[in-house]
Each structure stands twice: as structure tokens, then as C-alpha cells.
């Protein structure tokens, strides 16, 4: 079982640039300079490779209203009500079932209910902006919420974040873990969203944009967006399913 040869490691020579803003420099200091060590995964996977299995979540972990971010408080949140749903699959299109999906987002005014968010936009007493659900047998998830507002990142460039939902997903293996962000089609802020552009490949970047799908909403109540998610990484079920 040969691992990638450490002697051939090429350490990225870029020390954080002194010309960066303090915030950008602080972030640059967090990025590893050495390449990740590749761990070969034999097929069938060795049973003691911890990362080829994953945590298990169940009905006890998620309440029946956790998927509806508009019903977590006494009143209705302000904003354009939306439903966001889709399928979670592995790279071969097989549904990832019974898996925890978590979301968090800013309110309709572009402010997070988070103590560190200093954006001077109003907080909404009826919106916390966090939800959870489990995928069903077909790998489907669905959230009801309000469309998050855009917000500025600060700094001289006056960058704004396009409207986005943060997603956190588990798969059947720890290696399938995914944390990502979903965007809205036609958002005029997208071309300048520097976080969206951290995904360098244009085709890959476009996969972070949902599709307007009225059928995903509720008639007379909410607009709908569809966003399918594909989890990467070795799946522990390969060998078990014999295909």
C-alpha cells in the first residue's frame, strides 16, 4: 500500500503576500502549503478504514419542523418565501438516503442572526436562518425558507455576496462530507461574487446555481428552486452492493 511519496512533495512557495489586506492575509495563513497525502483505497475497502464509513443520523436528530425556517418563531419572517429542494446522489446517480442536510443563511435583508455579523441591516425576530432535514428514500431533501438578501463584504473594493444558502451534507462515508453554497439563477451579483469564484472552473461553478422551478414551491405561497447535489468520495456501499 504505497502512499504518495513524501520526498516528492512540492511545498507551495507562496508565503502570504504582504500586500494583502489584513483580513485576506489572515485567511491566507490558514491554507496548508503542502499537498494532501493521498491515501489509496483498495477495493473492496478495508473494513478498518474509518473514513469509508460515516456517522449515522436519524429521526431523533431532526424535528418535524426543522426543515421549515419560516415556522421556527411565533410570527412569519419578512421576505420572499421560497422552497428549495432536490436530490442528493453519489457520482453514479444513486440516491444518498437518510442523510443529514443542514442549511444556514442570512435573512431577507442580508443579515445573519449571528453575533459576529455587523452588517447594519435589520435583524428579523422571526428568522434564525438555520434548518435541518434527512434525505428520503429517493435522496430528496426540501427546505422552506425566505430568499436571503445580498450583503457587502466590506473593504475598499465594495464586494457584495450574491444571495446564497449554505449547505452542509454527510454521505455514507466520512470522505463524502460536503460543505458548500447554493446560489440563485440570474442573480446580477454572481459575476462579482468572490466566494463563488473560488471555484475556478466555470462549469463546476455553474453547478452551484439552482434552477427556478415553480413546481418545487407551493401554489400561492412560495416560489420554488431546484438544486441537485452530487457527493464525491469513495462510497462504503460499493463493495456491499457488488457493483
Amino acid at each position: 500500500m504505497a502512499l504518495s511519496e513524501p520526498a516528492q512533495e512540492r511545498i507551495r512557495p507562496t508565503d502570504p503576500d504582504d500586500t494583502l489586506s489584513p483580513a485576506a492575509r489572515a485567511v491566507a495563513l490558514r491554507v496548508p502549503l503542502r499537498p494532501a497525502v493521498r491515501v489509496p483505497v483498495p477495493l473492496p475497502p478495508l473494513p478498518d478504514t474509518v473514513e469509508l464509513t460515516g456517522p449515522v443520523f436519524g429521526a431523533a436528530d431532526v424535528g418535524p419542523l426543522d426543515h421549515d425556517l419560516t415556522r421556527q418563531h411565533r410570527g412569519e419572517p419578512i421576505g420572499e418565501r421560497i422552497a428549495v429542494g432536490g436530490r442528493v446522489t453519489d457520482r453514479r446517480g444513486r440516491p444518498v438516503r437518510g442523510q443529514l442536510v443542514e442549511v444556514w443563511q442570512a435573512n431577507a435583508a442580508g443579515r445573519y442572526a449571528h453575533p459576529l455579523d455587523r452588517h447594519p441591516a435589520p435583524l428579523d425576530p422571526n428568522f434564525t436562518g438555520a434548518g435541518r432535514c434527512l434525505t428520503d428514500d429517493d435522496g430528496r431533501y426540501r427546505f422552506v425558507t425566505v430568499r436571503p438578501g445580498a450583503y457587502p463584504l466590506g473593504g475598499p473594493e465594495d464586494h457584495w455576496r450574491a444571495s446564497h444558502l449554505h449547505f452542509s451534507l454527510f454521505g455514507t462515508a466520512f470522505t463524502q462530507r460536503l460543505v458548500t453554497q447554493m446560489y440563485f439563477p440570474g442573480d446580477p451579483l454572481l459575476p462579482d461574487d468572490i466566494i463563488w469564484h473560488t471555484v475556478r472552473d466555470a462549469a463546476a461553478r455553474s453547478r452551484l446555481v439552482s434552477a427556478f422551478d415553480p413546481a418545487a414551491g407551493e401554489p400561492g405561497r412560495s416560489l420554488g428552486y431546484r438544486w441537485d447535489i452530487v457527493l464525491d468520495g469513495p462510497s462504503a456501499t460499493w463493495a456491499e452492493e457488488g457493483r
Binding site: 504505497a2 513524501p6 508565503d15 502570504p16 485567511v27 495563513l29 490558514r30 491554507v31 502549503l33 503542502r34 494532501a36 497525502v37 493521498r38 491515501v39 489509496p40 483505497v41 477495493l43 473494513p47 478498518d48 474509518v50 473514513e51 460515516g54 456517522p55 449515522v56 436519524g58 429521526a59 431523533a60 436528530d61 431532526v62 457520482r91 446517480g93 442549511v103 444556514w104 442570512a106 449571528h114 459576529l116 455579523d117 438555520a130 449554505h166 452542509s168 470522505t175 462530507r177 460536503l178 460543505v179 458548500t180 453554497q181 466566494i195 473560488t198 471555484v199 472552473d201 462549469a203 463546476a204 453547478r207 452551484l208 447535489i229 452530487v230 457527493l231 464525491d232 469513495p234 457493483r243
Partner: protein, 185 residues
């Protein structure tokens, strides 16, 4: 094969969504085998990272990797194998768990603002000879994966995560050795 959904940074505001009460308490309260695993997350200049989120996945003491539901709403009995702990203002995290059986390590996933993709690593509580990962690494790199029993503090291990720099933690990625015969289609 479908192209995977790209990863994006967890950002600074996940604190309303991801951490949960008891997220670091894998060991049932008062369990005689409970150990504390703790440490700091540091950046390339040794500055503590106050907004990292660490997720652990591990075997149960009997070696089982089946896991159990109930990580987010712990019942104090089942060993779920999963923990999620944010770092504090000083970059410190703390986990209370039972040592894994059968395998010498806990799997660790590090999320933080500034990381476009989370980082995987391992926390070895023992260093068994012949471990394929450890034995392929030079000693200095290998040492970054080792949790050390803490002198003077019984049942306590220390494991620091260094995101960048001379003694940068070894981070991991997985690749299949070969495609399965039926996986090509």
C-alpha cells in the same frame, strides 16, 4: 460519472446552524473509560484560529464502525461515534470520548473560514507498527498525527492542528487504487 458538487468555505456565520449542545461529549457522562482529547488550531504564524469547526468520526470501543443515530440529540447512552466541536476564542477545542477499538485513530474533518475545502486528517492515539499511513511518512510529518498523553493529567490527550507552516499537520485525500471492474460503465 456525475461531476461532484464543488465545495465552498463554511464562512464565519455557521455558528447558528452547525454547533449543537453536547457536540463534544461522545462519552456518556461519568463513563469510567472517558478520555479528554483537546488542543488548539493554529494558522501559519501560530495564531490561534477562533472560528474553526472540528468534526470527529471514530470507531466505538468494541471496534464497531456502525455508528448510531442521536448525535445531535444525545441520549447519554448510545455511542454515536460522531462529535462536532467549535474552537473557542483562543483556538482551543475539547472532546470527551471513549478510545476507539480495533483502529488506532479518530478521523478528523477541519472546517474554517478561509478554507475553500475542509481538511481531513487523523488523530492517532497509538502508533502501531506497520500502519500504512504512518509508516509512509517521515518521522517529523508522522508526529503531526499523534495525540500525546498529557503529563500530569490522567486520561487526557493533546492534539494540535497546524493549518500551515513548518510543522503543518498532514492532511489527507482518498483515491481508489484501481477502478472496480464494473465501475467503468
Amino acid at each position: 460519472m456525475l461531476p461532484p458538487t464543488p465545495s465552498q468555505t463554511v464562512g464565519p456565520y455557521y455558528g447558528t446552524a452547525l454547533p449543537f449542545p453536547g457536540g463534544g461529549d461522545l462519552a456518556p457522562p461519568g463513563h469510567p473509560g472517558a478520555v479528554t482529547l483537546h488542543g488548539h488550531v493554529y494558522d501559519g504564524e501560530g495564531t490561534p484560529v477562533p472560528d474553526a469547526l472540528l468534526e470527529f468520526w471514530q470507531a466505538a470501543p468494541d471496534g464497531s464502525l456502525a455508528g448510531a443515530p442521536g448525535s445531535l440529540r444525545r441520549d447519554g447512552r448510545a455511542f454515536t461515534g460522531f462529535a462536532r466541536v467549535p474552537t473557542c476564542r483562543d483556538g482551543h477545542y475539547e472532546l470527551h470520548t471513549l478510545l476507539p477499538g480495533g483502529v488506532p485513530y479518530l478521523a478528523l474533518c477541519v472546517l474554517a473560514r478561509g478554507l475553500d475545502h475542509h481538511l481531513f486528517t487523523r488523530v492517532y492515539v497509538t502508533e502501531p507498527p506497520g500502519d500504512p499511513l504512518l509508516s509512509a511518512l517521515p518521522p517529523q510529518r508522522r508526529a503531526t498525527l499523534r495525540a500525546r498523553p498529557e503529563p500530569g493529567r490522567p486520561n487526557t490527550y493533546r492534539f494540535d492542528v497546524k493549518l500551515q507552516g513548518e510543522d503543518e499537520t498532514v492532511f489527507l485525500e482518498w483515491r481508489h487504487q484501481q477502478l472496480h471492474r464494473n465501475d467503468e460503465g
